[in-house]
């Protein structure tokens, strides 16, 4: 077994060292150098200043006055996590290997048990890193040497949890192999839960009645604290929790002596888990290969800038409209976008949903009197509509930009199309922008229809109505504007915006992401300056002609819309020229 473990040691250390060297070497690129500086500054400000400002560890405090409260509460949480390993296991036992590890290790002359040990050894890096991170985030580094006890404590907890999860999946797999059907497993779980309920019920009989809300509030939380203390100390809970408390205890040690006293029993339980896992001779290879494939697909999707793995489309979709072979070519991209979101069937469903929503809003808005449940419903829908609208200001642009950036991946194909760049850009962006704008209009309409249900005066309602109308006019151009900026960034600086390189962990990647966010905000602000300037100019010019307030607003809004639309058109043209000049080979 020594040879494979040595090989793994070599693999892990080389991977780590090469990874660090690679990251250091790429600091020669300005993108990563600036990213690293900004990332370091961010982490310093966040951890050094913000978390350090209070000089107090972060974490639940309401149990800190209860004797053994935090330990017992942690033990309860620990149990809950363990129980989840049995209730929510994967369909088959799998160990997380990468595709490369599978390709090299599975066919190698290595015993299954050694593979498990290798995986457990490899997981130590991530578990240790996570332990340090949690200690850092919880502000424990300000407590001096105690921080090391926390790191050690977390390491024991995480290792035990990790091995328990693997052990549980192995045990369940073995039961399945021996013919225990899914139904039987569920029955066993239900029986276990009934047993748990019996324990809880017997504990409850020893407890005083639950304090009322009024008592708790009046007592400043003391009642609740005492009640929880009583629960935690009522038999048989302390005995049930004892072995689990042993595992979490090192995490609560305040000095070396306490830590050294708490550590051996915890390590003992960890060692038992280790033996349980490595002695289980369960077939995990098939499921591990499948899991590795899924992870690889996820990473590939993230590399393409997608948030999730596209599921294989189950069946063909019916186009929303018939695409004629001749005519304005960018329409083909809109046609394709509508198919991508689901075609006629899905779009019709959404249309139906919005029609019902609008009809309901209209009905609620015009009702002479609303009962409390109806008024609450109206408020929820109204607030939801405006929140959706608010979110959409960013999301639509981002979604459209994502579609275009994905297109960059297929640039080989796009570049062969006999279309000028602006048509490609317009086509790729138009689909998401049109759909997004339609949804925004529906949200805006729903909110407006519910205006009367809120009981506001008709004067204010009129102002809101005009403002919403103006906003509705601005939205298409605004959405185009919002999507042009990130796309232009991706085309201008493909090296900086390459999603697969900027989504990973690391200080420099955090810095790069921060930089991109700031740049986008600055560019947006710059784009809105002329809109605001000419809008204001129109407002004052209309005032010179003694026009009424409504007409002045209309003039200002109209001019602003025109400027925004012009900016969007210029943006599309600019994006098109970037498309034309884009050199795929520089990717």
């Amino acid at each position: 077994m020594t040879a494979p473990v040595t090989a793994l040691g070599y693999l892990v250390t080389r991977t780590f060292v090469n990874g660090v060297l690679f990251r250091l070497r790429r600091l020669r690129q300005p993108k990563y150098l600036f990213g690293a500086i900004l990332g370091l500054a961010y982490f310093y400000i966040y951890f050094g200043k913000i978390l350090g400002a209070s000089r107090e560890p972060i974490g639940p405090k309401f149990l800190s006055n209860v004797a053994l409260g935090p330990e017992l509460a942690a033990a309860l949480l620990f149990i809950a996590t363990l129980v989840m390993s049995w209730i929510l296991p994967a369909s088959r036992a799998a160990i997380a290997f990468t595709e490369a590890e599978i390709a090299f290790l599975f066919p190698a002359p290595i015993r299954r048990r050694t593979l498990v040990i290798m995986r457990l050894l490899k997981s130590q890096i991530s578990l240790l890193t996570f332990s340090i991170f949690v200690t850092l985030v919880s502000g424990r580094f300000h407590l001096g040497p105690e921080a090391w006890f926390r790191i050690g404590g977390w390491w024991v907890i995480l290792n035990t949890l990790n091995m328990h999860r693997i052990g549980a999946s192995f045990a369940l797999q073995r039961l399945r192999e021996r013919g225990m059907a899914e139904g039987k497993r569920r029955i066993a779980i239900v029986l276990a839960l009934i047993g748990l309920a019996v324990v809880v019920e017997s504990a409850r009989r020893h407890l005083p009645p639950v304090p009322g809300l009024t008592e708790t509030v009046a007592g400043g939380g003391d009642f609740l604290q005492k009640y929880i203390a009583q629960i935690l100390h009522s038999n048989p809970l302390p005995y049930v929790l004892a072995p689990f408390r042993v595992v979490v205890l090192p995490n609560f040690a305040h000095d070396s002596a306490a830590f050294l006293r708490a550590l051996p029993p915890a390590l003992g339980i960890m060692a038992l888990h280790f033996l349980w896992v490595v002695r289980a001779d369960v077939s995990f290879e098939d499921a591990s290969i499948e899991a590795a494939k899924k992870r690889s697909a996820f990473l590939a999707a993230r590399g393409r800038g997608e948030l999730r793995v596209q599921k294989a489309t189950a069946r063909a979709r019916e186009p929303f409209f018939r695409l004629r072979p001749t005519g304005f070519a960018p329409l083909a991209f809109i046609w394709k976008s509508l198919l991508k979101v689901g075609g006629r069937r899905i779009i019709s469903r959404w249309a139906f949903f919005f029609a019902v929503l609008l009809a309901g809003a209209w009905r609620l808005g015009n009702a002479p009197h609303l009962s409390l449940p109806l008024a609450t419903t109206a408020a929820i829908i109204g607030v939801g509509s405006y929140l959706a609208l608010l979110l959409s200001f960013i999301l639509i642009g981002q979604h459209a930009a994502q579609q275009l950036r994905q297109g960059i991946g297929a640039m080989d194909l796009l570049k062969t199309y006999p279309l000028p760049g602006w048509q490609l850009a317009l086509g790729e962006l138009a689909g998401p922008v049109i759909l997004g704008t339609l949804m925004q209009w529906c949200s805006l309409g729903t909110g407006l229809l519910l205006l009367h249900a809120t009981g506001i005066s008709s004067q204010i309602a009129t102002v809101i109505f005009y403002a919403a109308g103006g906003l509705a006019l601005l939205l298409p151009a605004f959405n185009f504007g919002m999507s042009i900026l990130p796309c232009a960034g991706a085309l201008l600086f493909p090296g900086w915006f390459r999603p697969q390189e900027n989504t990973g962990p690391g200080i420099e990647n955090t810095g790069v992401r921060l930089m991109l966010g700031f740049t986008q905000l600055l560019a947006l602000a710059a784009a809105l300056v002329p809109v605001a300037f000419f809008g204001a100019l129109a407002w004052f010019a209309a005032g010179k002609f003694m026009l009424s307030l409504e007409w002045r607003a209309l003039a200002a809004g109209g001019v602003a819309s025109i400027i925004l639309a012009m900016e969007a058109a210029l943006g599309i043209a600019w994006l098109g020229s970037l498309y034309d000049k884009f050199d795929v080979s520089s990717e």
């Binding site: 069946r315 297929a410 570049k415 062969t416 034309d580």
Partner: protein, 244 residues
């Protein structure tokens, strides 16, 4: 006709393709061969207008790719080594989409004809996820054929295909050449290229080391008074060059 004059592609100080000049007449098939990293794919991408050439000119049927890219691109088709299809478009929808981009008036008839010719009629409403690699290749071919291009560029078209699919693809290429299309194929499968190509251009480190008809090349690089295969010539040239 594909006319290339002084095609050069630089990446900073690195020369990927150096001063290539050649023409491919209608009905001719030119094989672009070379060892890995010789610049074949870069050259093909420049020829298809995917990446801009640093120097030189490329004309498709007289339309300069730099000056009049739209007109030139309307007349060409590029087939990448891996067929890239849209997950959510059926086979027929792929053709409809491509037809609109290339403004193909009689798209419906041509689609039906192409699907029939490629034996894909029963798969017209299938999504790419339901297709094998060979079938996906056929969809890519159908999309590339629908606008009846006059120049075609194939990058490793035969890699990863089963013998039947290789035979079919070769036949299609030959058929297109007979219809008067100028074709350039990049491939490592030299014995297969010998069957379809009329001309060969051998690249090494971006430079042309041999160019001509297959017969010319065989005559020029005869050894011991007898003709060699393209594979033998290629190995000899590449090794000679390395020896120098």
């Amino acid at each position: 006709m594909i006319a290339v004059e002084g095609l050069t592609k630089l990446y900073g100080d690195f020369t990927a393709v150096c001063d290539l000049t050649f023409t491919v007449e209608p009905g001719k098939v030119m094989g672009l061969v070379g060892p890995n990293g010789a610049g074949k794919t870069t050259a093909l991408r420049c020829l298809a207008g995917i990446i801009p050439a640093t120097h030189g000119s490329i004309a498709i049927e007289g339309h300069d790719l730099r000056e009049d890219p739209i007109a030139a691109k309307k007349l060409l088709s590029f087939f990448p080594d891996e067929p890239r299809l849209f997950d959510y478009l059926t086979v027929r929808q792929h053709l409809e989409f491509t037809a609109r981009l290339y403004q193909v008036r009689d798209a419906a008839e041509r689609s039906t004809m192409l699907l029939d010719a490629l034996e894909m009629t029963d798969k017209a409403n299938a999504l790419p996820t339901e297709l094998s690699r060979g079938m996906k290749q056929k969809v890519a071919l159908a999309c590339g054929f629908i606008h009846q291009p006059r120049a075609m560029f194939f990058d490793e078209p035969l890699t990863g295909l089963d013998p039947l699919a290789i035979r079919r693809t070769k036949d299609l290429i030959v058929q297109k050449a007979r219809e008067g299309v100028a074709i350039i194929i990049s491939s490592h499968l030299l014995h297969l290229l010998e069957e379809v190509c009329s001309h060969v251009l051998i690249l090494k480190r971006g430079k042309k080391i041999a160019h001509g008809t297959l017969d010319d090349i065989r005559t020029e690089f005869r050894e011991g008074g007898k003709d060699s295969t393209l594979e033998e010539i290629f190995i000899r040239l590449v090794n000679d060059d390395a020896g120098k």
